[in-house]
Symmetry: C2
Subunit: 303 residues, 2 copies
């Protein structure tokens, strides 16, 4: 049975905070709507969303607000993998109830050196507790931060037992050989997203589904441009243009830099706030980033 | 102004689960009471408690149940450091309201490579949100698992700004030089706990406050024996005897092994369950552990 899968470009949407560091749902909705008008989908509660600095109640509230505001839930792939099994089950269940097209699931990331069996049990508990064919899980492989790898064997075992629920993977290893190996898995309809648009052309040529990338928060239409035209003659040039912008952002702490750019181009200084343990860009970093983006003719149209 | 500080031995209390993997408050209360009768205090919600596999509501519920069951809150040092600032504030506030003698606070541990300023901001936000002189924070340094270090500079800065609230540290680095460095800090009344009883004698001789150790779940009275008699002639032998037991447990995954021993000696097989991503001991490991503990004349009196 063929299942609906995500494809294209998704932004791990940055999360704005009010001056008392609470999630700012109005700015959040506005930014989500902007990303959608630029052609991308919404991987809210990703690493770049500071999702692990938000608690369960805050995430559920933001998700409900988004859907109530009219954002199409089929465009939503919220991050629902938490340290605690109980949080992961509750959040995943709510995402499915709200009609989200999929969920992006980190493995539990506090305990290190855990076994594939333990990780299998974790995902199995969530899947069996939610017990809904509409649950489509995209596994989230980001060992530089989570310190927990999702092995090929684990994916095969999960997909064999839960073929309807295991929909794909996001690979943020930063290692193309790893992304290639995920694409090579003999699992029907398994959607592989690279975690940076730097690998987007390569991923599309290898049969991948698209990318879920930090910079899709600020540069979504250009990234979508490559996604749509990857088979066209100008694709290599599009990839080079994307890389040029990516490299500017990568020279800064990514999350504060994305928020700084959103503040600059949206003329809304409220956007610069981050929750501890992150810190916002220094004034000097902010000015440098602004100058570099201007020099590169960077735009965030209609923000 | 001199503040009350914890000293002695604390157990990071293991958390029992029912057959549907919910926290089992009755067995939890019973085990806490047993540890207290053996002379140790209760660092509930530590690493060995699978605390990061529990969510906020589960932790608050267990803490309330403990206090309602008559456990003296002054003996409680719950772990309240979570990934999310919001969870950390809510849980810490509740611990203080319930009269807990202190809290053990992990730094936020998802984002890696964060700055001391970001960690300072995190702890400062918790302290200023709780806003209570009865909040006594023991910082939790466990880089092998959290992957986030608490630097000497960070501690000095926190203690200078919040001298009443910053009470001490638990060092689970496994590196004696690090524990020594924490003891050498020129901060008045700063209580340094080693994270394993293997360092207890050394820590007491260096001016430390005691230990918070996994095996205090199963061997509390012997560890308390060394704490009470560290200046006596038999102290070296006591340390050797403790090490002998510690080494047996360390050869297994620690949390499942502690639960297995509690199941064996309490004749209560319900205790073996763990939450994913952990897995319980295999039958073979369980038998091996049982045989080794018997050979060492290990006891859990009155369990």
């Amino acid at each position: 049975m063929s299942q609906t899968r995500f494809s294209g470009v998704l932004a791990p949407v940055i999360t704005p905070f009010t001056d008392n560091l609470r999630p700012d749902s109005q700015r959040f909705i506005k930014h989500c709507n902007w990303i959608v008008t630029q052609g991308a989908n919404l991987a809210v509660f990703g690493t770049n969303s500071e999702a692990n600095s938000l608690n369960l109640a805050e995430k559920i509230h933001l998700l409900e607000e988004l859907v109530m505001a009219g954002v199409n839930p089929e465009k939503l792939m919220p991050g629902t993998g938490c340290c605690a099994l109980s949080d992961s089950i509750i959040l995943t269940k709510r995402a499915v109830e709200l009609g989200c097209g999929g969920v992006l699931m980190l493995p539990p990331f506090y305990y290190k050196g855990v076994s594939d069996q333990g990780l299998f049990d974790f995902y199995a508990q969530v899947i069996e507790s939610v017990a809904d064919d509409k649950l489509h899980i995209y596994l989230y492989h980001i060992p530089p931060i989570s310190q927990i790898s999702i092995s090929l064997g684990l994916i095969e075992k999960l997909a064999a037992k839960y073929p309807i629920n295991i929909a794909g993977i996001k690979d943020s290893s930063g290692d193309w050989n790893q992304t290639q190996a995920f694409n090579d898995l003999a699992i029907e309809n398994f959607a592989v997203f690279c975690g940076s648009e730097s690998f987007l052309l390569q991923n599309m040529r290898t049969g991948g589904a698209g990318c879920i990338s930090a910079t899709a928060n600020v540069n979504p239409s250009a990234i979508m441009g490559l996604y749509k035209h990857w088979q066209d003659s100008g694709a290599e040039q599009r990839q080079k243009d994307l890389n040029k912008i990516r490299i500017i952002f990568q020279a800064y702490p990514m999350i504060p830099a994305l928020k700084a750019a959103t503040a600059m181009y949206g003329e809304d200084s409220e956007w610069v706030r981050v929750r501890p343990p992150l810190t916002k860009l220094t004034d000097e970093q902010y000015s440098d980033l602004s100058r570099e983006l201007s020099s590169a003719d960077f735009q965030m149209p209609d923000l």
